[in-house]
Every structure is written in C-alpha cells, then in structure tokens.
C-alpha cells in the first residue's frame, strides 16, 4: 500500500476540516476493518486518512428520554450489542451488529462504518432501514440529516460528500406490538459475507392481528441494500396469515436484483430471499407479540 498522511482528529470539526483541506483523496477511518483491507489490497489509494478513534462525539450509545436511540457513528459493534437498552428495545440491531465479522472484528468495526462502506452485503444496513434510522451528517457546509434508506447509492458509494462525515445514527422509539428480525444466509455459521440477507419489521394491531406497518430490506441482492416497498405494501392492511407472509416473500424474491458471483448464483439468491423474508417475517411477528404457531402452517421458523 502507498503511504499516506494520518491525521488523528480530536473533534468532529477537526475531522471535517482535515478532510476538506486534503489535497488528494481522503477518508475518515473508524474501526478500519473495511478500509485497511481496501488499502492493503490496493483497491483504494488515499493521500490522507483521518482517524476518528479520539473523537468522543462519535463513540456513544445513548437512549433518549423519548425512547429513541442515538448511536455515535464510530461506536464499535460490541458496544452496541452489549448495551442493555439496545438489547431490551432494539433486538434487531443486536441481530445485525453481532454478526459483523468475528468477535475481534466487532471490537473495532463500527455501525457507521458498515453503513458508509455501502457494501451491498452490509448486514447492518437492512436493519437500519427497517428501524427507519436517520443519519446525521456533518460537513464543511454544515449539518444535514439523511434517511438511511436513501444513504447508499451504489456499491461503495454513499450520499456523503468528500468533506462530510457520518456523525450519528438515530433510531425512533419503538412502540408496542412491533418487532423486527434480520437474518442472513451464509455457507458457514459465522465469518462469511451474506449470500443473501433480509430484514423484516412489522407493527401489528393486537386486536385485529392486522399488520399496520411493515418494512422489508434486503442485503446482497442488488447494487445497494434494497428496500422492497412492494412487499411492505402487500403486508400492510393484511391480517397475519401464512398467505400474507408468503405473498410478501414472493414479491421480495421477484423484486430482488441479484447478480451471479462466486458467493452464489442469481437464481439461488432469489430463492434465498423468499426463504429469508418468510423466516424473518415470522420472527418479526413473534417479537411483535404474535403467537406465530397460529400462522405457522408447516412453515419452519428456522435460523
């Protein structure tokens, strides 16, 4: 790897200034578990790297008094899934942050980094989409907020300008009778990149068992993590049933845009989307307090 200049930022402003003032390509580094591999394999060359390890604003998990959650963008996965508030109120976030690489990787890899890396396979991104998260971005021109479902634009490309950094992720407060689950399919049981991943989130009317809100997002089956609005629309207004689940899973399968590569063929990935959406919807319903035995109907709720 070519050498570069390293600037250890002490604040968000310092980090933004260091990016803005760089003469050549520059990137911030949080955990670095993606960026360092890209640099060492020559997939990316930088003039300047801006270290975020010592920026306190970027390292926190803060449950707000209204029940919403703010997470500093450079907070490593381990600090998120070990947080008691997260474990209690945002289990879907635990699903995702606890499967990023190994335990060693989770000590360093950050939630914000997973989003900014914008890999189609980013396991945290479908979850952030399902949880309706907002990204707080600060740049030389000031501060803005971007919804996570429009954050990634292409493999490795986001809405961030060269002088902008992601500062915080904000997740709205959960309400009763909602739940979400993220699952990915990998050949081994850990350490792999998702062949396909699916996050499903629902809110259900406890009396009528009608799904009132739904979000479904997929990983590894498109150039970016995909939100499948058509599948969500098919769910909303339906009473919980195996047919409704299967309909949504089938729509998700048809809407996925996978490619064939070394990790799996396009048709296998489509098939996996259907399986995973079915399974995660069942899991989401369970987390929303629905007794899924009623709807199981021979469908295995597998892992």
């Amino acid at each position: 790897m070519k050498n570069f200049e390293f600037v250890a930022a002490r604040s968000v402003d310092e980090a933004v200034a260091a990016l803005a003032q760089s003469k050549g390509p520059a990137r911030p580094i949080a955990g670095g578990t993606d960026l360092i591999v890209q640099l060492s394999e020559g997939r990316r060359t930088l003039d300047r790297v801006v270290g975020l390890d010592h920026v306190p604003e970027l390292h926190h998990v803060s449950a707000q008094s209204d029940g919403s959650l703010h997470i500093g963008a450079a907070t490593p996965c381990v600090s998120i899934y070990s947080d008691l508030d997260v474990r209690r109120a945002f289990p879907m976030l635990v699903d995702s942050t606890s499967i990023v690489g190994s335990v060693q990787v989770q000590s360093r890899a950050s939630l914000g980094g997973n989003l900014c890396n914008a890999a189609p396979s980013g396991d945290c991104i479908p979850t952030l989409i399902c949880l309706d998260a907002t990204a707080v971005v600060v740049g030389a021109k000031g501060r803005r907020e971007v919804r996570v479902d429009s954050f990634c634009q292409a493999p490795g490309r986001t809405v961030l300008a060269d002088d902008e950094i992601l500062v915080e992720l904000r997740i709205p407060a959960p309400v009763a009778h909602e739940g979400g689950v993220y699952q990915r399919f990998i050949p081994r049981n850990e350490m792999d990149i998702a062949v396909a991943g699916a996050g499903s989130w629902v809110r259900v009317d406890p009396q009528s068992k009608v799904i009132t809100h739904a979000r479904i997002a997929l990983a590894s089956v498109g150039p970016t993590p995909l939100r499948i609005v058509e599948a969500e629309e098919a769910l909303v207004g339906s009473e919980v049933s195996q047919e409704a689940i299967e309909r949504a899973a089938t729509i998700a399968r048809d809407e996925a845009r996978p490619i064939s590569d070394v990790r799996g063929s396009a048709d296998y990935r489509r098939h996996l989307v259907q399986v995973l959406v079915r399974r995660t919807l069942l899991g989401a319903l369970q987390r929303a307090g629905i007794d899924t035995d009623r709807v199981k109907g021979g469908v295995a709720l597998g892992g």
Binding site: N3, E5, E190, M191
Partner: protein
C-alpha cells in the same frame, strides 16, 4: 509526502515510543519494530485471528489496526499472557489438553479465549465455539481447543472462589 510519526504504545505493561509509517499495521509494528513476533499474520484481512491482541481490553485483529490508531492504547499480546514464569491457566490447559499441533494459531486462540473468559467465566461449549469462530485452526479440528478453554475456565473459577474464601 507523509513520513514517520511518533506513536506511544503500552505493550504488555511496557511503554514504547516509536516512529511508524501511517501505513504500518499494529501487527507489523509489534512484530518488526518492537520485535514481539508472537502475534502471527495468517491472512492480513481479519479472517483467521492469528494476529489477535487485546487492545484496551478487547480482542482485536492487529492486522486490521493501523499502528497510528493504537496511539495511547494498552495492548496485550501472547507474550504478555503469562505472569513471568507462571503460565496463564489457558496456556497450561492448552498444553495439558494437547490443544495445539503446529502452534501457529495458538497465540490468537489464547488471546481470544482470554477475552471470552474475562467477560464470561463459565461459558458453555456453544459459547466457546461462537467466541472462537474468528480464529482458524487447521490442525486440531477445534475439539481439544474447546476442551482446553472449558478446562481453563473451570480452573480459573476454582482459583477465584478460593481467593474469595480466603478473602
């Protein structure tokens, strides 16, 4: 362009002030500059765990950390696991249980297992397997490694309950 920059590292309790290139990983600096080659490079991209070290109390892949990022941090490598001539219970258990063959992955496993036992002194077999999934071993099939970690955990629990009683 960028030259060398000073970095302060506390490695196995010793303070080091050294000049590094920003592109040097913590692993390279530990091995080549500080000459602690116990941490090994198996893959260079975080998929084998042979380079595992503790940084500020968390097991991390030192191949995926720039040395400049580790500035001011406390690092424990496999060389710092024993207390002088007194082996750590994990080291002792690995020897007794034949939990190593070629031994190249052993430093990483010891570090990862140590980080597990620090937060969970009584892990199940499944928890051990989950926690060690980031460490590849090609010789043992993991069976004896898992047994050694469970044995060390039991020994450490027995030791700490003895300490509690005597305290």
């Amino acid at each position: 362009m960028a030259g060398k920059v000073p970095v302060r590292l506390c490695v196995n309790g010793s303070e080091y002030e050294i000049l590094v290139e920003p592109r040097q990983t913590l692993l390279e600096v530990l091995r080549e500059e500080i000459q602690l080659p116990g941490s090994k490079e198996g893959c260079g991209n975080g998929n084998c765990g042979a380079c595992s070290v503790m940084m500020d109390g968390l097991a991390s892949n030192s191949c995926l950390i720039l040395a400049v990022q580790a500035d001011g941090k406390e690092i424990t490598t496999v060389e710092g696991l024993a207390d002088g001539m007194q082996l750590h219970p994990l080291q002792q258990a690995f020897l007794e249980e034949a939990a190593l063959q070629c031994g190249i992955c052993t430093p990483g496993f010891l570090i990862a297992a140590n980080s597990l036992l620090k937060k969970n002194p009584d892990p199940s077999e499944a928890e051990v397997r989950h926690h060690l999934a980031g460490n590849l071993c090609r010789c043992t099939g993991y069976d004896k490694i898992v047994r050694a970690v469970l044995k060390a955990a039991a020994a450490m629990r027995a030791e700490s309950s003895k300490e509690e009683v005597s305290a």
